[in-house]
């Protein structure tokens, strides 16, 4: 009986929550994170959209099962009495009778396997990456947060995890003047100061719950916002034209070693340079408005599902028919 309730109501409710999170993700990527908004606010919005893939299914499941919290209440008893045996009913005591539908069980298992597979794959890739980054720290020269790697290419990385550090290759350091070196260091230090490597890992894991094209889009918005926030932090201390020049210098150095390599992206660094050299005004949008709206959505959804319990059951019944 419990399995029937899970399949009939809890699983469709979770799916509905997940679909809503995909809609929120798409809206966030398309309309809520334009470049004119401050990078920190864009980051917050992507983070909230990413979290919704976990929170919305949980809220929907909690709400649809909340009826079971009041089994002795009169409205619950009369509500249960109005149900026919064929109607979906999110109640552990009055579940729909009959055999467990195989196709419904198969769809639920398939969805679960896909979600778990995506999460495990992301976790494994991240773990492998972190092991290699920690290996680079161990193989680097120097002590403390700033480490030098003996490599001819132009590489600058901020590494979080067990031992946070900024890794700079000798190829990069030897090709930049002291002022440009300070700019690169300040940029990478800004990443560490804001805890970006740690937040990066969380967002990448959460985005595994989104459909791949949407996850890719949200990830691009997230990464651009992270880099632009670090650029802004550096531009407050140094001249923004110097920062733009350093970006361009590192990009051209990197390309010297990548001749013939396949490129998959051509716009991000260019957009960052354009943003630094073009006078722009950050849109004075309230950074908290969206966050408060999202926070309010959760209790509103909970109440709505409780109040419209029967209507939602009818909708789920109709969707499952």
């Amino acid at each position: 009986m419990t399995a029937m309730v899970l399949l009939d109501t809890v699983f469709p409710a979770a799916m509905l929550g997940w679909l809503l999170s995909q809609v929120l993700g798409a809206v966030t990527a398309k309309w809520l994170t334009p470049a004119r908004i401050a990078p920190r606010i864009r980051q917050q919005r992507v983070l909230i959209a990413a979290l919704s893939a976990v929170l919305l299914p949980l809220v929907m499941m909690a709400a649809i099962l909340a009826a079971n919290l009041f089994p002795s209440a009169d409205w619950m008893a009369s509500h249960c009495g109005t149900h026919s045996h064929d109607h979906i009913h999110a109640c552990l005591n009055f579940a729909k009778q009959g055999a467990l539908p195989v196709w419904q069980a198969a769809v639920a298992v398939l969805a679960l396997v896909m979600v778990m597979g995506s999460l495990v794959r992301t976790r494994v890739t991240e773990r492998r990456l972190q092991r290699r980054l920690q290996a680079l720290i161990k193989l680097s020269n120097g002590q403390g947060r700033f480490r030098r790697l003996h490599d001819t290419r132009a590489v600058a990385l901020a590494v979080g995890g067990g031992e946070p550090a900024v890794l700079l290759s000798s190829g990069l350091l030897n090709s930049l003047n002291p002022h440009q070196r300070r700019i690169v260091l300040a940029h990478e230090s800004a990443h560490l100061r804001h805890g970006d490597p740690r937040r990066n890992r969380l967002v990448v894991l959460l985005l595994a719950l989104f459909i791949p094209p949407l996850a890719k889009r949200l990830r691009a918005v997230w990464e651009n916002a992270l880099e632009e926030a670090a650029d802004d932090a550096v531009a407050q201390r140094f001249n923004r034209f110097d920062v733009a020049e350093t970006l361009l210098r590192v990009l051209s150095l990197q390309q010297l070693h990548m001749k013939g390599a396949q490129s998959v992206n051509s716009g991000d660094t260019q957009a960052r340079i354009q943003r630094l050299i073009t006078p722009h005004q950050v849109h004075p949008v309230s950074g908290r408005l969206f966050e408060w709206a999202c926070l309010m959505v959760l209790p509103v959804m909970l109440v709505a599902v409780l109040v419209q319990h029967h209507a939602i059951e009818t909708l789920l019944s109709w969707l499952g028919a």
Partner: protein, 138 residues
């Protein structure tokens, strides 16, 4: 012993902290036995000779060490150069992992970014012009 340099596309096996410490030691002191390795890094870490021996064995199986039997014990030497190992890990991180949508890396400039030479020149010129314009206003 001939040092070998893995090709750039070669994917480096994941290396643990102890494996890297052993490699660092063998780069400085080639041809050490498990007991000698243990004497340098084992005692301070409180690990047994067996642990050191299995670490050396793992590195040998990953083709990062060569070994030669002298008496009853094998003596180990690194066959991968330190710089070439670093280069391969960087290639792995900036290439394979950065191309993989699942991996999170904070790089100053993404390795996947690239611009045509004329675009680079145009951007350079634009920065110069904007700078002059900005300084002219002040």
């Amino acid at each position: 012993m001939k040092k070998h340099t893995p090709p750039a596309s070669h994917s480096v096996p994941a290396l643990g902290e102890l494996e890297l410490t052993v490699l660092n030691l063998l780069w400085e002191n080639p041809g050490l036995s498990p007991k000698s390795v243990h004497a340098v890094i084992g005692a301070e870490r409180g690990i047994s000779v067996n642990t050191v021996q299995s670490t050396l064995d793992r590195l040998y199986k990953k083709q990062l060490l060569a070994r030669e039997k002298q008496g009853y014990a094998y003596h180990y030497t690194a066959v991968v150069e330190r710089d070439s190992l670093i280069a391969n890990i960087i290639s792995d991180v900036m290439g394979r992992f950065q191309l993989d949508g699942a991996a999170s890396i904070s790089a100053f400039v993404q390795a996947t970014d690239s611009l045509a030479d004329e675009d680079l020149a145009r951007l350079e010129e634009e920065i110069r012009a904007r700078r002059a314009q900005s300084e002219g206003k002040q």
